[in-house]
Amino acid sequence: MLELFADLVLMPLIAFLFGLVLVLMARRVRAKIERRVGPPVLQPIYDIVKLYAKKTQISHGLMHDVSIMMLLGGFITAEIFLPVPGLDGLAAEGDLVTLVYIMMVPMLGLALGVGSCANPNGSIGISRALTSMLAYDVPFVVVIAGALIHYGSSNLIDVVRIQQEGGVSTWGVTTMPLLAFAGLIAMHGMLGKEPFELYIAPAEIATGPMVEMSGKYMGALFVMQCFQFYTVGVLYVTMFLGGGEMWLTFLPKVAAVIFISVAITNVFGRYKTEDVIRWMWRWPTAIGLVGLAFVMLKVN
């Protein structure tokens, strides 16, 4: 029992701390691609502390406050269900499908919060965000289904165990490369990076859902960004890259996955909403379905 409590505290904590590193990496990579020096090492901490140390803040009502709890709560819950080296948390009780549901909670929370402030940019932004969620969730669900069939279990602990017992040749990325590729694209959309960044669009709709977030609310969003990078990276590593055997190999794998996403981000413009749906439902979904067919043939 005590061990479980320790897990519940440690897992989100590690997620946050490593998330800070990932955020720093994302900003540094972006700076290097733009031939800049980039922010100092402690920049993510400076930003978050500064935002939480704001002396005034604007709340747009109860739903606005609840939305922040849903944002952070959704991701913290997701951490608890994601097995990491040495810490299983509640991963045995939950499974992959639970996780898919939980990962939708933050975006829905954001929608509730934006709905309570009257900024039109926010409404446009959140409608685009939910639309793009609709876009990337289709290939994502195909990928999840393929993984479930391949591993024969929806329990993430089993998924990790199967890959670790067989070594690299049983990793998802070698046994079902098409699904892994489709999953990478869906993950990229999930992170909301270019070219799927239509709902942030700073120059156009002024960061969309975040437009009315000030002070501590913005700080919560910065914390959420850490969790988001970490959660998406860990989920991908768990499904396709053998999960975590030990921290020394696990964290570089997570960072590598995020690095791929961050590196391709900077060379893209931004797709329109309808183009995101068309593209997401065509290419990653098609690749995912072919991969799913291969998996089903192999299983049968």
């Binding site: 922010p39 100092p40 502390v49 437009v211």
Partner: protein, 250 residues
């Protein structure tokens, strides 16, 4: 400022700011405040108000030529998220209204930097009826950059000076807006007319966050209170109705 001669930085530090008594803080409080101030100084989210010509000096400052992200200065797009408001050049009466609206939406601690001569004394538009002469009469300004236009080096210098000031806990001009709101509102009304008001209830904010001073309320804020009791049909017309020279469009 870019030359080799040392010209001192002009700061507009109001004398009337409430300074928290050093003795009343506990040691933990002091450490926390110092840490928070340090973080504030190293993370400045900048909102550019780009109606003047100075905006053209910002791209080299922010992008790879000088890269202000090295010291934590990064652009933001909405006043809600920003800490630092850059007024890049001259302000007309029309744009000053928008500046005040943006400024009041920012969350304290917030800082304002006036770019170039135009924000100091009207610059080359000094005798124009529409150009605002002194920005610090309408919103509190932390720093000015002299020049027409200031080069990116000068902009970097003002960022560094402002950071040092914030780190020392001395960039408190934003409190002056709460403490002397009546004077600021009076000068705004002088320009925009007695009907001028903003959606932000600054007096209520000052009361809520504890920045009420002798100058927070006065004859001009009394006008605001009076306006709250107006009913719809007594609101004076902003514009006259269509005159006899006007006809409906075909």
């Amino acid at each position: 400022m870019t030359g080799s001669e040392k010209v001192p930085v002009v700061t507009d530090q109001p004398e009337t700011c409430r300074v928290a008594d050093a003795e009343e803080k506990s040691l933990l409080r002091k450490v926390m405040d110092n840490f928070a101030d340090h973080c504030r100084s190293r993370s400045l989210f900048v909102l550019h108000y780009c109606t003047g010509c100075g905006a053209i000096e910002l791209p080299p400052t922010i992008t790879s030529r000088f890269d202000m992200e090295r010291v934590g200065v990064s652009p933001m797009v909405t006043p809600r998220q920003a800490d630092l408001l850059l007024i890049t050049g001259y302000l007309s009466v029309k744009t000053l209204k928008r500046v005040i609206l943006s400024y009041e939406q920012m969350q304290a601690p917030k800082y304002v930097v006036g770019f170039g001569s135009c924000t100091i004394n009207g610059g080359m538009y000094w005798n124009s009826y529409a150009t605002v002469k002194r920005l610090d009469q309408y919103i509190p300004v932390d720093s000015y950059i002299a020049g027409c236009m200031p080069r990116p080096e000068a902009i970097q210098q003002v960022f560094l000076d402002l950071m040092a000031k914030i780190d020392a806990g001395k960039a408190t001009a934003w409190q002056d807006y709460y403490l002397n709101y009546d004077a600021y509102l009076g000068r705004q009304m002088n320009l925009f007319g007695q009907d001028w008001h903003t959606p932000t209830d600054v007096v209520a904010e000052a009361k809520h966050y504890g920045y009420v001073g002798n100058g927070t309320t006065g004859e001009h804020t009394a006008l605001l209170d009076q306006r709250a009791t107006w009913s719809l049909d007594t609101v004076p017309e902003l514009y006259p109705a269509r005159g006899r020279n006007e006809r409906s469009r075909p």
